[in-house]
Amino acid sequence: MSNLQLLFDAPILCVQLLVDGILIGAIFALAAYGMALVWGVMNVVTICQGEFVMLGGYTAYFLYKAGVHPLFGVPIAAALLFAFGWALYRAVIFRVVDGDLFISILATFGLSILLQQLANQLFGADVRTAESGFRTLFFFDGMVTVSVVKIVAFVAALVVGVALLVFLKRSRMGQAIRATAQNARAARIMGVDTTRVYAATFGLNAALCGAAGALVAMTWLIHPYLGLPYTVRSFMIVILAGLGNVAVVLAAGMGLGAAENFAGFLLGAEYQAAFVFALLVAILLWRRFWLGRTRRYLK
């Protein structure tokens, strides 16, 4: 409990934890948008989100090595991963779209292992970083530090989120995606090429993860096995926020980031993940209880 005492002695630390949590939560939210999208539209749960993040990270890393600023790695990683996601849909995912949810989990789990091992073979197991050269900002006599790269990542996550929202609302493909999500069969009858919609959705998901990965390489580090925590966090955020709402996904991401940071501070790093899962269980129980109390009626 001495850690709690510390927070009371120096409340400014709360600001640090909160800011850090919110900034990193936005990056989690990016991968979660993608998962929600694919889940909602295709009824496929992608367990290889983290691997797309990792591949996006390596894209940024290699661009950085080639002399390109890693910030430009964000759109380039997104574009490359879009193509990769599209190809992956054509090769594998289309086979599981109409199947059981469980089959899709198994298939993408297999993909995640494949991608990890391939990355290990191709890029080696070494830990890599892409240096952005951004500085750190200091507030309150250096007690609160915010690195510019995290702010950039946060803004980028917001921009991508808004772009996604506009894309889904305004563009033809966005409308087709929403139509397919509502009722794939009806959409098909109305002339929507659902195969293309699915491929685009899956590509979009990979692109979102790729953008997140490029930000991760700039902010922390990347290696072939970093995927799992990102997959798990996306899953949690989607469970919390539901499938339909981009803004809620972002809020859930930031909330999760902040909760994780406070847990890590108070309980020690070893309980950081455990706390988050306990929170997930609590929220699910609460939601169930609350749903049971609301009157349901037909609109």
């Binding site: 640090q16 530090t145 970093l226 925590p229 020690g268 790093a269 070893e270």
Partner: protein, 411 residues
């Protein structure tokens, strides 16, 4: 061509070996050659370090033979090593140890690469009462089993960061402060390797009466240390210790700089393998890094001269700079040579006792075993990153550069 014998031949082979063993009563010494045996990883996941190990052994054998071999009685014996490839798998390593002992009649074994493989072979050498000197199994758990015939030239894991604690204490005393006033923050990965290191550090911190203010266990999948470092920043420790393989090293360097965690002394492991000075630039400045050995150390012996001369000879022979894995392997051969000389015998018990009584200076550092067989005389060294270079700063008597304290944050 790893298994030249066909399916039907093992029985005949075994018979032939039995006959041969009968003929040459002392197969471990053939004529004027002492035969050592080793299973090393020439293929598989440890193949790089396995080759370092083999090269280390080969260089020692070549040098000892060049200098006239080992004088036992009136004869000067040459050394030779029989190698097998253990394919980086423990089961194969144990099998090959049996083969070396039973079929090839080898009476003295050199270790394989890695703690895991050493752990697989140790019960075999123990069973046959065959002395094994190894240079690449650092896990403390190798030395808690009561093995009588296992000896290690390298420093075991719990010593990896102790030197940093002692250095902090010495620095405090020099500045007129009591080491008991020092506050220590630690973040160690939750795996056996890093927790071994933590156990050693805790022991020393307690001995000095230091106060441990942060003691976080980093989960193996950690990608962000911000929560731990915020705490470190708040409690303002005098010493920060981090170990979590290359990932922990990279995170510690990157995030302490980014969050401006201003701790006067920070010590970590794996900075050479994580290449923190090369890739993270000024963020790595003044970090202390633990290492087994370095060519700039002022150790020396009669076989190789100084550590630097050893490194030059190694480079001339194998065309790459010797990593510490090679140096500690070379030292393992030297331990045998020294023991043969003192035992003046090839009786395995006498040689074992002579090894146990080893107390020698080598280019790799001093070697003296405790009753469990681990080398307790050689300290870990601490590098400090100074101007992008790794400079040895501790322990003081081997240092090639002066410690920069307190650590200054890069702008």
């Amino acid at each position: 061509m790893r298994r030249p014998l066909g399916r039907g031949t093992p029985l005949i082979g075994a018979l032939a070996v039995m006959v041969a063993a009968g003929a040459a009563a002392n197969a471990k010494v053939e004529g004027d050659t002492i035969v050592l045996g080793a299973a090393v990883s020439l293929t598989g996941k440890y193949s790089t370090n396995g080759k370092n190990t083999q090269d280390g052994y080969d260089l020692a054998v070549a040098r000892v033979n060049e200098l006239g071999g080992v004088q036992v009685g009136d004869t000067s014996y040459k050394l030779e090593v029989v190698y097998y490839d253990d394919e980086s798998t423990p089961a194969r390593a144990a099998q090959l140890a049996e083969r070396l002992i039973n079929q090839d009649g080898v009476k003295f074994l050199l270790g394989p690469y890695s703690s895991g493989l050493t752990k697989a072979i140790a019960p075999v050498t123990e069973k046959y009462k065959i002395p094994m000197v190894e240079g690449n199994g650092a896990s403390l758990s190798l030395f808690t089993e009561g093995y009588r015939y296992l000896f290690a030239t390298l420093t075991t894991t719990q010593f990896y960061l102790r030197e940093a604690v002692n250095l902090a204490a010495a620095t405090a005393e020099a500045a007129g402060r009591s080491p008991a006033d020092l506050k220590v923050a630690m973040a160690f990965e939750n795996d056996p390797f890093s927790q071994d290191i933590r156990a050693g550090v805790t022991e020393d911190a307690e001995r000095w009466g230091m106060k441990v203010v942060v003691d976080d266990k980093l989960p193996p999948e950690i990608n962000d240390m911000a929560a731990t470092l915020t705490k470190v920043k708040a409690v303002k420790p005098d010493l920060l210790l981090v170990s979590g393989h290359t990932k922990g090293a990279t995170l510690a360097v990157r995030q302490t700089a980014e969050m401006r965690v201003d701790v006067p002394m920070v010590a970590i492991t794996h900075c050479d393998s994580a290449q923190v000075a090369e890739t993270l630039g000024s963020a790595a400045e003044y970090f202390l890094c633990a290492s087994q050995w370095d060519r700039s150390l002022s150790y020396r012996d009669d076989w190789f001269g100084t550590a630097e001369e050893y490194a030059q000879r190694f480079e001339a022979t194998f065309d790459y700079a010797p990593p510490y894995q090679a140096a500690e392997s070379t030292a393992a051969v030297l331990v045998f040579v020294d023991a043969f000389r003192r035992a003046q015998s090839f009786d395995t018990e006498k040689v074992r006792d002579a090894i146990a009584a080893t107390d020698m200076e080598t280019f790799y550092g001093r070697i003296k075993f405790d009753e469990t067989g681990k080398n307790i005389a050689k300290p870990m060294v601490l590098y400090q990153v100074q101007d992008g270079q790794y400079k040895v700063v501790a322990p003081a008597e081997w240092a090639s550069a002066k410690l920069i304290y307190p650590r200054r944050l890069a702008d």
